[in-house]
């Protein structure tokens, strides 16, 4: 295709605008998907480190997520439970001070949800734990990460495993409802 230079010259404003928008969109996509901040999970009100607690200190998952064996939700530790240890350990650290402040003002900690399940899908932790599916099979190696990156669970992830393990793949009985 031959482009007459005069045509480019005549249409220089539209051509400029088109090029500009292409560059802007490409830039947006690049920064949106590749900047370091997009892949390290949401920022939490207190920078709790799973690496320190589950990795270095080797605390069992179910100590802080106590209902995981007998309820669909694993449960979050109540503020009180954090202070069981942190009344004694690094109690004057400024993040622990913030924890104390939540406790003494009776404010629930607004943790940010890192793992996301699609709409109209319900997951039951109890069933998976009782089948001896380790936490890490879905959640990965949380003991190596300071900040939880989390995961957006998609159907393929669930159904691949369900098929491999010959588990229930009925729509309502297994996930939807």
């Amino acid at each position: 295709m031959n482009v007459h230079p005069a045509a480019l010259h005549r249409n220089k404003i539209p051509v400029f605008l088109t090029l500009l928008s292409v560059i802007l969109i490409a830039g947006f996509v690049f920064f949106f998907y590749t900047t370091p901040g997009t892949r390290i999970g949401p920022e939490q009100p207190i920078p709790f480190s799973h690496r320190v607690h589950a990795g270095v200190k080797d605390i069992q998952c179910a100590y802080c997520h106590p209902y995981v064996r007998y309820s669909r939700h694993p449960g979050l530790p109540p503020v009180e439970k954090c202070l069981h240890c942190h009344n004694h350990i690094i109690r004057n650290h400024h993040w622990i001070q913030k924890e104390h402040a939540y406790f003494s003002t009776r404010t629930p900690i607004p943790w940010k949800k890192a793992n996301v399940l699609p709409e109209h899908v319900l997951f039951n932790h109890q069933r998976h734990i009782q089948k001896d599916i380790a936490c890490k099979e879905c959640h990965g190696l949380v003991e190596t990460a300071d900040r939880i990156t989390g995961k957006i669970f998609l159907m393929e992830f669930c159904i691949t495993c369900h098929r491999q393990k010959n588990a229930n793949v009925d729509c309502w009985l297994s996930c939807h409802g």
Partner: protein, 992 residues
């Protein structure tokens, strides 16, 4: 659209897209401060309590998830309701989470409402009450709904502290005539409970015991106990009334009598019994009186006055005379006070003549509502406020300005300048609007209390949820106000424990966990003593209907199954669920006989102005054969001018037509009034009704069978392919027939879920419908969308009239049939309806693209499309069941057999390493049914209840000849034709 607007809108659009654009869908997870011992995230906790939506006092179990109550179920251990609950009980949740619930006290200052703190409100009450107490005796008055003994005594103590008389317990439906009749005949104004289940014939003169009368859930159960098939026989129920209520629609025979002629029929029966030598035990003076009154009431005279057939009257009297254990029930709603009194006296005498020992009356275990004040006392109470120097009026959970016909006079009294009015209520109702201070208090599901539904049944109430407001309990607040620092007990809760005579903390825990203390034997025994003197019967010659004044039409105002006295009108579920007979939601109508409609040239929905001597009302008319041509029936409870967004300006209040006075003998009000003028206004209103048709047009939908032949297999059913000879085909592999089926059958591993619906037990009360709304997060669409045909109920009660006999009504609960050969599954382009391995017809919301082909192809019309995003103003979303997803616009949905409960059943069974047992899983509709009309179970298990019930010769499938193989098996309703009873609905030309 001009260019400017286009730019504006596209600008908003791109900003919205940018704002919504993040890499993570961020949601917040809040952690608790302390973990309560009895709360596990994701698991329900159950708290036993007592329902306070009406004075019956049913026991409930409140299901708590993460601190909020999400569902109410009947307490199976409670003697009154035994696990069932009516639709009003189910909807109590929408009182707690009502978006119009008041959060703080409001004070009227300079013409407007201003929020104040609870402490300030208490201060004001203390200040006003102390001043009133110092100024003289009896200057503080308290009017309350019927409460338990404990709270009632607290009211008494508190008022005494302020030198005033005790409280007035007010209920709009207080059964004055029944109490007065029992006073005259049995010697005390009591409301005994009835062993209806032990009767072989039940005759009612209007009592609507399946809707609002005394204790509807209890009597629905007892009624079906006597009316179910036992050894080829069932009890007989005959109702005589001008209006066919839901109760009358469940009768074997309903006789439409002229309004005001019920007592004539009762005394006609007494005369007949008397002449056959019954009633010798009655004291002489009364016998003489009876003969005097009944003298002229010959068979033909009774039939002439009441407008009933002689054959019907003969049948009725013969049935009663022959009965072994008859029970006669008295007056019902919508009667004028004189007739009601005559009827109830007559009925008491009739019961006495039939069975002098009164074995089916339980005078030891009486209904709590007997402590409600008579209407005349209520009027006197308000008049006294006007004439005496009363300074402070306290109103507790009561709305007399709406529920009494004398609204003008009450408004005048309550708004008097020198009177300070405090309304303890959570809603801005018509009475609260006139108060000076509105103080919200804890609702029954948030508070400690006790309530004696019956003399020997004490129900306890406990907080079943976290707090939504800072409101105090009324008991605590008043004790604090009256006694400040020298309170007799530390708080109201310990007061309750003291009243219940509980010694140890363990006993207290046991009582609260059980939901109360049942079958107490304490209390003095009550023996009905027949009065030996003359009864005040002299002026009680029943009216002759010929000398009625007016335009010939009489209005009957009947209490509503949905709204009771109007307190349910602010609950969206109750508005959205249709009236069981008219199937109209949100609106109120006047029910008029087709003959009257034709004679006056009215058409369905024409707005008519009805005028009595006391007021006027404009209501659309609804053609309905179940009413006497002289009567117009309107249900009470709607037509609020306040009471929140769902009640305000919705429907009409027929109380405005009624006379404000009371009967001097009973103290009861009249719910009937002759119309002085009736005029069509030339407007027509579209009625928001849910029935496509009143009749079945000869299709095999809701079927009946005769009691004589119901044990025999239907002669038609065989191996044909027609509507009547298509065989019952269970939705299991055995149901496959190579001659009929194109597709192979579905394999089902261990389970194939299904339901059996016994049409002979279904009374059409709609409790299941509301339970389904609560359990499954179903959207409420509102009047406008109902008119557009967009209702969302997963379970509806269809009502069909018999074209040959319009008084014969059959109710059919219709939900997704979970067909094994489902027409919806084969037409979806994206496989959103999917056949599950346990036979459920799964609807996958994520897949659904909203073509609506499935709804089009469903012969049962049970699929519901979300045309819009349904409105749930805060805090209504707190009620949502977290185990069920909330569907959004553009998605099809339908009954899932409560898949979340099936999954729970699987969980339990897997934890215990066993298979699911029959009865482990109970869907919400099955759970709440007062008459056990629904049974859920596994068709693959040959021993399951559903499988055995499917072998009943009455079993059939709705539209089964379409070879859909539905998993809902219906059992035909058993009808019995009573000898001599000839089809005689009003308006039909009488043969002979």
């Amino acid at each position: 659209m001009n260019r400017r607007r286009f730019l504006k809108i596209s600008g908003i659009g791109s900003i919205a897209v940018a704002a919504g654009c993040t890499a993570e869908a961020e949601k917040t997870l809040f952690s608790l401060i302390h973990a309560p011992d009895d709360m596990v995230t994701g698991k329900a906790g159950w708290y036993a309590s007592t329902c306070r939506e009406c004075p019956a006092g049913c026991g409930i179990l409140a299901k708590n998830r993460e601190g909020r109550v999400i569902k109410l179920e009947g307490n199976p251990a409670h003697p009154i309701n035994q696990g069932a609950l009516c639709m009003r009980g189910q909807a109590a949740l929408q009182g707690i989470y009502n978006p119009d619930r008041l959060q703080t006290p409001l004070i009227r200052e300079s013409g407007g409402w201003h929020p104040v703190s609870f402490a300030r409100a208490a201060e004001l009450i203390i200040q006003k009450a102390r001043a009133a107490g110092q100024n003289g005796p009896n200057r503080v008055r308290l009017i309350s709904e019927v409460v338990g003994d404990t709270l009632s005594r607290v009211f008494q103590d508190v008022l005494q502290q302020w030198k005033s008389d005790g409280p007035l317990l007010f209920e709009p439906h207080a059964f004055e005539s029944l109490k007065a009749a029992h006073d005259m005949v049995f010697g005390a104004p009591v409301l005994p409970s009835y062993h209806m289940d032990q009767a072989d014939i039940l005759v009612g003169f209007g009592a609507d015991f399946l809707e609002t009368w005394l204790s509807p859930v209890e009597y629905a159960r007892k009624f079906k106990a006597m009316h179910a098939l036992h050894n080829g026989r069932k009890g007989v129920f005959i109702q005589i009334s001008p209006f066919q209520s839901l109760t009358a629609a469940n009768a074997d025979h309903w006789m439409a009598c002229r309004p005001g002629s019920e007592a004539t029929v009762v005394f006609g029966l007494i005369r007949k019994l008397h002449s056959s030598g019954r009633g010798a035990e009655i004291p002489g003076p009364i016998q003489n009186q009876i003969s005097r009154i009944c003298d002229t009431l010959t068979r033909s005279e009774v039939c002439r006055r009441a407008g009933i057939r002689k054959a019907d009257f003969d049948m009725l009297s013969n049935r009663i005379i022959d009965a072994e254990s008859p029970l006669i029930l008295g007056s019902g709603p919508g009667m004028d006070s004189r007739t009601a009194m005559h009827t109830d006296i007559g009925v008491s005498l009739l019961n006495l003549i039939l069975d002098p020992a009164l074995p089916r009356h339980d005078f030891q275990n009486r209904h709590r509502i007997e402590c409600a004040a008579r209407r005349s006392d209520v009027s006197a109470f308000f008049e006294a406020i006007d004439s005496e120097p009363v300074e402070l009026l306290l109103l507790h959970n009561t709305n007399p300005v709406f529920t009494l016909p004398s609204a003008h006079r009450l408004t005048e009294i309550i708004s008097r300048e020198s009177l300070f009015v405090v309304s303890f209520t959570n809603f801005m109702d018509e009475t609260a609007e006139l108060a000076d201070l509105i103080c919200p208090i804890q609702l029954p599901l948030e508070t400690w209390d006790a309530y004696e539904g019956k003399t020997r049944v004490t129900g306890t109430l406990q907080p079943a949820m976290g707090r939504l407001t800072d409101a105090p309990a009324i008991g605590d607040l008043l004790l604090r106000c009256a006694f400040s620092d020298q309170q007799p007990v530390s708080d109201y809760k310990s007061h309750v424990a003291g009243q219940l005579n509980i010694q140890s903390p363990a006993d207290w825990v046991n009582a609260v966990q059980a939901g109360g203390i049942f079958n107490q034997s304490e209390g003095p025994p009550f023996n009905p003593g027949l009065s030996v003197g003359e009864l005040p019967l002299d002026r009680m010659m029943p009216d002759s209907p010929d000398d009625r004044p007016g335009a010939g039409l009489i209005v009957m105002a009947v209490p509503s199954l949905r709204f009771y006295d109007g307190r349910g009108a602010n609950k969206p579920w109750l508005n959205e669920t249709p009236d069981p007979l008219t199937l109209i939601c949100w609106q109120s109508v006047a029910q008029v006989h087709p003959q009257t409609m034709a004679a006056r040239g009215w058409k369905q929905g024409d707005v008519i102005l009805f005028q009595s001597d006391f007021g006027t009302i404009k209501v659309p008319v609804f053609e309905w054969p179940g009413i006497h041509p002289d009567a117009v029936a309107m249900t009470l409870g709607q037509g609020h001018t306040g009471y929140g967004r769902y009640a305000q300006n919705q429907g009409q209040n027929p109380l405005t037509l009624l006379a404000p006075g009371q009967n001097p003998l009973t103290g009861g009000p009249s719910y009937q009034v002759p119309l002085s003028e009736v005029r069509a206004l030339g407007q027509n209103e579209s009625l928001a009704h849910l029935d496509g048709s009143r009749t079945q047009h000869g299709r095999a939908i809701a079927l009946t069978c005769d009691i004589q032949t119901c044990h025999l297999p239907s002669p038609d059913s065989g191996q044909g392919l027609g509507m009547w000879d298509f065989p019952l085909t269970l939705p299991i592999p055995e149901g496959y027939d190579i001659r009929r089926d194109i597709y192979p059958s579905h394999p089902h591993a261990d389970y194939r879920w299904g339901m059996v619906v016994d049409l002979d037990r279904c009374i059409g009360c709609g409790a299941c419908t509301v339970a389904c709304y609560a359990e499954n997060n179903i959207g409420v669409v509102g009047e406008k969308q109902i008119l557009a045909g967009r209702e969302m109920a997963w379970l509806r009660i269809e009502r069909y009239l018999d074209p040959d006999d319009m008084q014969k009504i059959i109710f059919l609960p219709m939900m997704c049939q979970h067909c094994d050969n489902a027409p919806c599954e084969s037409v979806c382009p994206v496989y959103a309806p999917h056949h599950g391995r346990e036979g459920l017809n799964n609807q996958i919301y994520n897949r659904c693209i909203g073509t609506r082909f499935c709804a089009q192809n469903c012969p049962y019309k049970v699929r519901r499309f979300n045309w819009l995003e349904w409105d749930r103003p805060k805090p209504l979303p707190l009620q949502l069941n977290p185990d069920v997803t909330v569907r959004s616009a553009g998605v099809m949905e339908k009954c899932s057999f409560c898949i979340q409960r099936i999954k729970d059943g699987h969980d339990h069974a897997k934890n215990e390493n066993r298979l699911i047992r029959d009865g482990d899983i109970t869907p919400a509709c099955v759970q709440t049914c007062p008459t056990h009309a629904l049974v859920f179970g596994n068709f693959m298990d040959p021993e399951s209840r559903v499988r055995r019930l499917a072998d009943d010769p009455r079993a059939y499938q709705v539209l089964g000849y379409l070879n859909t193989k539905p998993a809902v098996i219906y059992l035909k309703k058993i009808v019995q034709t009573l000898d001599n009873a000839i089809v005689s609905w009003p308006g039909r030309p009488l043969p002979g």
